[in-house]
Subunit: 205 residues, 4 copies
């Protein structure tokens, strides 16, 4: 509703540190809380035998593990981007807030997958959320690179942004698939594992 | 219930840093948690077609996006105020706690808007909360300015406080309107966008 | 289940800082989350007129404001104690965890007051929680003072601990009263305001 | 899904501090939130006399106290490990995220114990979670020690990891017992107290 309050022109190094430190602290807080709220989506099992209870909670446990891994990985990438940051500006802070709004949103589609994982709506919302999140992450890196906010010698924007663009693409492709078959869409996501493993083999990282 | 424990007379610079750092840390914590709790207000959709589910959750998604943007913007302004702070006193810490009590309250009217957005009560509580929050923000800046807590060269109190006073005013005006028509009151809030855009054009920020 | 892992004998100044900083960070985190979770106790109103809805949520709003003020005040006092800390030991870290367990518990009796504020059980649990919290706070200060953990020139233990002991006493006295009349017990709590105001007049703080 | 982004080869001391500080900050955040979410598992009592209400909530209060003590103790041990850390690598950050995923999971079996503490499923899930958590903690210490990530003079891996391995073992043993008798399994956990006390007597810590 208003312009960003962080005006780089007036900044001393100390003020830059303050902006930087509080932005990182808020981000770490949102990541930590989003990670920890995921557990609220795992409902208690209904009655029945031990096996009944296990199969009752299994989808929710799977969704918990998936989203915890996803948010954890996104935190590591956020961490890697901000480690390379030389200075920040108001627009980056706004972009980062949009990104945090998507991170804080992830517990919702996780809950949908836990409760109603067999309907298209749940799988579409999950895939759309992660596609958008990866897209904003890639866009943020491109923005930082274009505005010269990164330290010299940082990984190039095109190289660094290619991975989140691939993630965004795979999740986007799974959306139309989910309208036909929710579980086929979930299998599509495994493509990411394949890309990740191949890349690691090729680059040695 | 008791006087503020922070006694500026006895302070060394290190103690001032400690007071300052913990107050900022608590504030960032409350902002991060309030942002992240918003998602708990978005209920799972009932059954029906894909379209039914979308229209089921649309108001809650809108309320989530609105409140995330509002709290994010308030965090940026809190950030800008505390960046300018030269020293703090007990009364400021108390004022800041009252302010955090309002920030932590925002998830509640957000939930009302999500569930019962068409009744006056929900819209009135939302508008009253944000009006009060903006009013306390403006009052805090005036207080800091009068007590000489800000760094020399900081933006003047009257200039800095004018924006939150406008926000407080617009939300206050929407309260009587909400008794007649809740949705008309929500349209009133768009005035803020107009003010924001115009201001940016005039001042170049 | 095991002895405290922080062994002061082996500590360098840097390690002391690390222990200290993480303990303060965990404490600020628990305070911030306890403050922010309070809002989950405020239920949405049932139907009816605007006035019906207001009286529906009024007790919960009162309980929210009361507990936010109480936790905020306890945070200020925790802050004041830790500002005076010269070094910490394992037993203090354990005592602090017990204290944080009580702080994190406060949302529960707050929810009882919101929902079932007219039964003895709710008022007794609230009063017992705050009495115990104040008692542990007083005990922690006495412990720090006896073990020489505070900076020289800090406020004396007997003086500093007298206020939390009074708070513990007033809440303890209200417990038997709550068995006869829950609302009479709540009025007893106002004694604390009287003590606070009188003290401030006498001491000028 | 991708390799860890933290590449130790390229690190300057400042970057190492950044990685370290953010990892500790995220960990403290997850610990603080897991501790504070435990209270959401304590349900309000149904009606009846004061005594009825007490026995209604007693199991949930016991589970709250148990899990708060457990998470608090795990935080102290995490703290002790990270105090000894000289540098970190990507695999340690991943291991730490797995560990945090287990810490953030603890509120779920705590809720099971509160609500359905008399069925095998609840006790098995609780014991399995804590066994796995202790196992990952022990494995993390062994990993750090083998890769030379700890400061010279740190406690040896075999000595430091023996305690979490004992904890993992006791909880693992209680799992088959819980299939026969849930309460017998809970009594098994008291063995840990015995080990703790004996150890402290032998080693003086």
């Amino acid at each position: 509703l208003e312009s960003a309050p962080i005006d780089e022109a007036a900044e001393t190094p100390t003020e830059r540190d303050f902006d930087y430190n509080r932005t990182v602290a808020l981000s770490d807080g949102v990541f930590a809380i989003a990670l920890t709220l995921l557990i609220l989506n795992v409902a208690h099992p209904g009655g029945g035998s031990f096996g009944d209870r296990v199969s009752d909670v299994a989808p929710a446990l799977g969704a918990y593990a998936l989203s915890f891994a996803v948010i954890g990985m996104l935190w590591m990438r956020h961490h890697a981007l901000w480690r390379d940051m030389r200075r920040i500006d108001g627009r980056l802070v706004t972009l980062n807030l949009v990104y945090l709004g998507l991170i804080a949103f992830i517990p919702y589609p996780t809950g949908l997958l836990s409760d109603q994982g067999d309907v298209s709506f749940s799988v579409v919302v999950y895939a759309a959320t992660l596609s958008l999140t990866a897209f904003v992450a890639a866009g943020t890196r491109v923005y930082c690179s274009r505005r010269g906010l990164l330290k010299p010698g940082s990984i190039s924007a095109s190289e660094a942004a290619s991975r989140p663009f691939i993630v965004a693409g795979v999740f986007a492709i799974s959306i139309p698939i989910a309208f036909v078959s929710p579980s086929a869409a979930e299998w599509t996501w495994l493509l990411l594992l394949v890309f990740g493993v191949r890349r690691r083999r090729l680059t040695g990282r």
